[in-house]
């Protein structure tokens, strides 16, 4: 799978196709902002997003920069399969803490308390009308990801899927994204992908 387009964030390192995007710091928030600057992509909503949405936005947007795997691709037929463990728990906890503290429910926080909102933000940023699936699991499950991509590619008329694992909660954040097409499915190498997704 030598031509697999992929992005990852692990141990503070954002990489695009294995190339470091920005120098790591000890803070995921700083890393996210630095990666946003380094990508040089228009993401007007980025400062207002929650952290889960920012992580998906950075990893997914890397495919749309000049020379990226999806640059110039029709946005009508790009689907999304995003998997994570904590979903929106990072924002859920903040919303719950405020509710507990002064019985105030913040509408601005509440709208981010669904795991699929990060995918929704990503679709808005890039004008993606395709099929999308938000999945929760304890760890990256490449079998489920592959099945979801096959169904979206073959039954829902998509021709490329932004597919990956994205998880952020408190100070822990990891993500690995790839672009899945018919060719990716033909070249699918589970052992190699396990290494890309789980090699910490």
């Amino acid at each position: 799978m030598k031509d697999l387009a992929h992005t990852s964030y692990r141990n503070g390192h954002f990489t695009v196709n294995g190339k470091l995007l920005a120098e790591p710091t000890s803070s995921p928030d700083t890393d996210l902002n630095n990666a946003w600057s380094a990508l040089g992509i228009e993401l007007p909503r980025f400062p207002r997003m929650d952290r889960s949405s920012k992580l998906v936005a950075i990893c997914g947007s890397s495919f749309f920069i000049e020379g990226g795997a999806l640059a110039g691709h029709s946005k009508e037929t790009i689907g999304m399969v995003i998997m994570g463990k904590h979903g929106s728990m990072d924002t859920d906890s903040k919303y719950q803490a405020q509710l507990d503290a002064d019985n105030h429910a913040s509408p601005g926080q509440f709208v981010y308390t669904l795991p699929n909102i990060a995918m929704g933000e990503f679709s808005i940023q890039h004008g993606l009308y395709g099929s999308g699936l938000c999945l929760l699991n304890n760890a990256p499950d490449l079998s489920q990801m592959r099945e979801a991509c096959v169904i979206l590619l073959h039954d829902h008329g998509m021709d490329a899927i932004v597919c990956g694992w994205s998880d952020i909660f408190a100070d822990q954040a990891t993500a690995t994204f790839m672009v899945v097409t018919e060719r990716t499915l033909a070249d699918w190498n589970a052992a190699e992908l396990e290494k890309i997704f789980n090699d910490h």
Binding site: M89, D100, P115, G120, L136, N138, Q144
Partner: protein, 368 residues
Amino acid sequence: MTVTLGAAHVLSPLGEGLAASVERMLNGATALQRTSTAFDTPAVLGIIPKELLPQGPRRIQRLIDRCMQPLVQELGNPKFTDRWGCYIATTKGDIAALENGNANGAALSVIADHVQKTYGFTDRPWVISNACASGTSAIAMAGAAIERGFVDHAVVIGVDVLSRFVLRGFQALHAVSEDPCLPFDAKRKGTSLGEGCAAVVLTKDASILKNPIGTFVSGGIAHDANHISGPSRTGEGLVRAIQCAMKKANLSATEIHAVNAHGTGTDYNDAMESIAFERSGLSEVPLSGYKGWFGHTLGAAGVLESLLALHALNTGLVLRNEGLTELGVPSKVNVLAKEMNVEGDLLLKTSSGFGGCNAAVLLRAKRQ
């Protein structure tokens, strides 16, 4: 290949079981009730009767078990080998665990842990969380997985329970009606929240089912890329989801006999849906939404409402849209204020949710 649905079981504010629930929708009143004690704030809610589901910890797991046990029994206690898939649709799972600071207990994947361990699924159950389109998305994925040969059978579970977390959030967005919600009505003032669980088997081998209730035809999922908490004004995502399902099945709008809509009772959602249905050529098709009966059950809604609509269509009926007095949406739709006899068997179920998710499934009733 034909993918058949059966061994269905539901639990909602209407009660337990498809037949009893539909009977109440024909001859009874809404299950929405006014309360000021449930979450320390006045609200109209659809609450599962406490004799069916007592309050207390691990409520969502007890609800799933109450729904799954009759399903497993009807199947004759099968082994859920790797030829079985399990697709769980939920939005917030056991979010009440977060009130005690238990973030791990509130994680949605905990539900998959429980279902896998309790029922012995060899393969990891899927947890699909596409906001309020989760249930319909889960049916679409399960049906396609069987057609693609990934599995031979699938259990689809839609589940969500009421919580202070969600109720206060919807109230903060001014999306909750002070009275029982009135989907598609001119006087609608927001949604009502509810809770429920629905479980159903999809299979390529109908002989494992004692009481098949219909077949899966096709599904579609699409985003509207518009706003994270507001639907597209043009219904774009929903139109695309419906088109995806119709194209896959090579069917046209004129072949659809009934529509079960999302119908939340909020101004923007119901308006959006009417526009999408008219754009899809469905203006004349008998249509209803069920949230006036038991509220918005979030991740459970797509599965629960699909099964109720399919059961009704099996008897030749499209049930009424509870609460409708005067239609109040911008585009032409045939919303039913009274149940209606129909000849056909093809049902379109749609759902839409925050994040711009939309899902549609086509199901064919097995007329009795």
